[in-house]
């Protein structure tokens, strides 16, 4: 695979594709000259992106850079105004697909359905049966919430709600999971727990994961590869060739983080320096 984009040559890095895990049940994603325009505003500019099957890709960037738009297109919630993309072998049409699931920034649980019924929502088109309940319970157990199956969502904490949302996304065994800043609203400790949980289920199920986040350290803790988007273009494409489980605060992570932050903050360099 060629993770390094031509216009990101300054950030050229060796090809670490050999380090990626063996081919899994995830789907590869190919985006070719993807463009999205809202009225006069061009949010994505002819963006090329290839995500190999089973890769954990993190997309970082400032707010409004187009990273969420890109993710929403990949997850089938939005459509490109130019270019095309493929999920697996089929050309992806706009619309929901059973093999792709998205986890939103908010839990978006149905307040009038029990925790278990909320997880069953992930089994689209399936009315509640003994089988769907069993699968939903298994998935709830995987996120450690099987004892809350009969509760209303309103009695859960923010982290627990997001875990239910994760179970809902996973219950149909998707081959592609889109994560739209799902941990943005959680407190620091819950965040770290959730990162561990997401890494664990990704390693076990081997789906392709694309995580949009503004938190560079979160991207580095989880991803095989970090892509940075600036003004609707890929400005940096970097593999994260570190073994898992990754040690929070290790020197390697810190060096990579500094590189990404340096690029992110580049624009600020033109600001006058202050003398104390």
């Amino acid at each position: 695979m060629n993770a390094v984009q031509p216009h990101a040559a300054k950030a050229a890095i060796p090809d670490f594709s050999g380090l990626f895990r063996e081919p899994s049940r995830g789907v590869p994603i190919h985006a070719h000259k993807l463009g999205r325009r809202f009225g006069a505003l061009q949010v994505l500019h002819a963006l090329d992106l290839h995500v190999p099957a089973g890769q954990f890709l993190a997309i970082v960037g400032r707010s409004g850079c187009g990273k969420s738009t890109l993710l929403r297109i990949l997850a089938g919630l939005d459509h490109p105004t130019s270019g095309d993309y493929r999920l697996g072998e089929e050309a992806a049409a706009h619309g929901p697909r059973a093999e792709a699931r998205i986890m939103f920034q908010e839990p978006r649980l149905l307040p009038w359905a029990s925790v278990l019924a909320n997880v069953e929502v992930g089994l689209s088109g399936v009315t509640s049966t003994a089988d769907s309940r069993r699968r939903a319970l298994e998935t709830l157990a995987a996120v450690g919430l099987e004892d809350r199956a009969a509760h209303w969502p309103s009695v859960l904490s923010g982290g627990q709600k997001q875990r239910v949302a994760l179970a809902r996304a996973l219950v149909s065994r998707p081959r592609f999971l889109a994560l739209d800043e799902p941990l943005g609203a959680l407190d620091a400790l819950t965040r770290i727990e959730m990162q561990g949980l997401i890494e664990k289920v990704w390693q076990e199920s081997g789906f392709t994961a694309v995580l949009v986040t503004h938190d560079v350290s979160e991207a580095l803790a989880l991803a095989d590869r970090v892509v940075m988007i600036e003004d609707g273009r890929i400005a940096l494409d970097m593999a994260v060739p570190l073994p898992r489980p990754r040690r929070r605060g290790s020197v390697d992570l810190a060096l990579l983080e500094e590189r990404i932050l340096a690029q992110l903050l580049q624009r600020d360099k033109v600001q006058p320096e202050y003398v104390i």
């Binding site: 919630l77 149905l110 009038w112 929502v121 209303w152 969502p153």
Partner: protein
């Protein structure tokens, strides 16, 4: 020194709440305390009537009302009139509420339907429906149709407006979630939009129940040949204040019963809502 100490003791004593006051504050009102004031009023009413301070032509005694109740129950007149009024209320409510609910859903879900009907409905809404009584009598005479029409019209708007509002205000993020998780339009309606609109629909329902009784009372007192309102108007002709008061009390009880039924439904269907939840509630 002792003076200062005394002053302190005095001060702290003065601050302490007297025992009787703290008892009064901590006393939780029992279930029966809510009936204390009505019971006192009733006793005072009976006393003034028994002492002859209150003319029967102005207000009958409570005992007189009870006697009237007993007499009319035995003759079967009361049950028949309540039955007639109840059927009118229920039918009018079903017709008006049904149309209001259907149009509220249609206009909440479809732009075309809304553009076609909403502004017309908003214009009609501004006519007090009781102002139509002369016209309604001309159209329907004093038949059942007149009462049903008025009740249905009165009930229609609260149900319509609140259903529309409820459907409009369903969290769009939940709808996006539902459709991205592969829900069909039917699923989306059944599992997201309808339950999301339900709290607002219940507000409309309770409001409509109030309008329903009000409209029926007015319609029955003006043009009817049976029913509670007719019974009260007949009694007025013969100065039977006890029957008039009895009819008023029965209207109050029916209104209260309808509201209680609506609240029961609310608690049953909105259990998930923290506003209706007992602690640790489960589905």
């Amino acid at each position: 020194m002792t003076n200062i100490a005394d002053a302190f003791i005095l001060k702290s004593d003065a601050r302490a709440t007297p025992v009787w006051l703290s008892r009064l504050k901590s006393a939780r009102p029992g279930r029966l305390s809510a009936w204390l004031v009505p019971a006192l009023i009733l006793a005072a009413w009976q006393a003034t009537a028994s002492l002859g301070w209150l003319s029967v032509n102005v207000l009958p005694s409570p005992a007189g009302v009870v006697r009237a109740f007993w007499k009319l129950t035995l003759s079967g007149e009361l049950a028949a009139n309540i039955g007639v009024s109840f059927v009118r209320a229920a039918l009018g409510f079903a017709i008006g509420g049904g149309i209001g609910f259907a149009l509220g859903l249609a206009n909440g879900l479809s732009r075309i339907s809304e553009t076609l009907t909403d502004s017309t409905l908003q214009m009609v809404r501004n006519i007090p429906h009781l102002a139509l009584i002369p016209l309604v009598i001309l159209w329907f005479g004093i038949d059942e149709g007149a009462k049903l029409f008025l009740v249905a019209l009165g009930v229609f708007f609260p149900v319509y407006l609140n259903t529309l509002h409820g459907v409009r205000n369903v969290d769009p993020q939940l709808i996006e979630m539902g459709s991205s998780y592969g829900m069909t339009r039917g699923d989306l309606f059944r599992r997201v939009i309808l339950p999301g609109a339900l709290p607002s629909i219940f507000v409309g329902l309770r409001f409509a129940l109030g309008v329903m009784w009000l409209t029926l009372i007015v319609a029955e007192t003006i043009a009817a040949q049976s029913g509670l309102g007719y019974m009260a108007m007949q009694a007025r002709e013969f100065m039977q204040t006890d029957i008039v008061v009895l009819a008023i009390i029965i209207y109050a009880l029916l209104g209260k019963a309808a509201d209680a039924a609506a609240r029961l439904l609310e608690r049953r269907f909105l259990q998930w809502n923290p506003a209706y939840q007992a602690q640790g509630a489960r589905p």
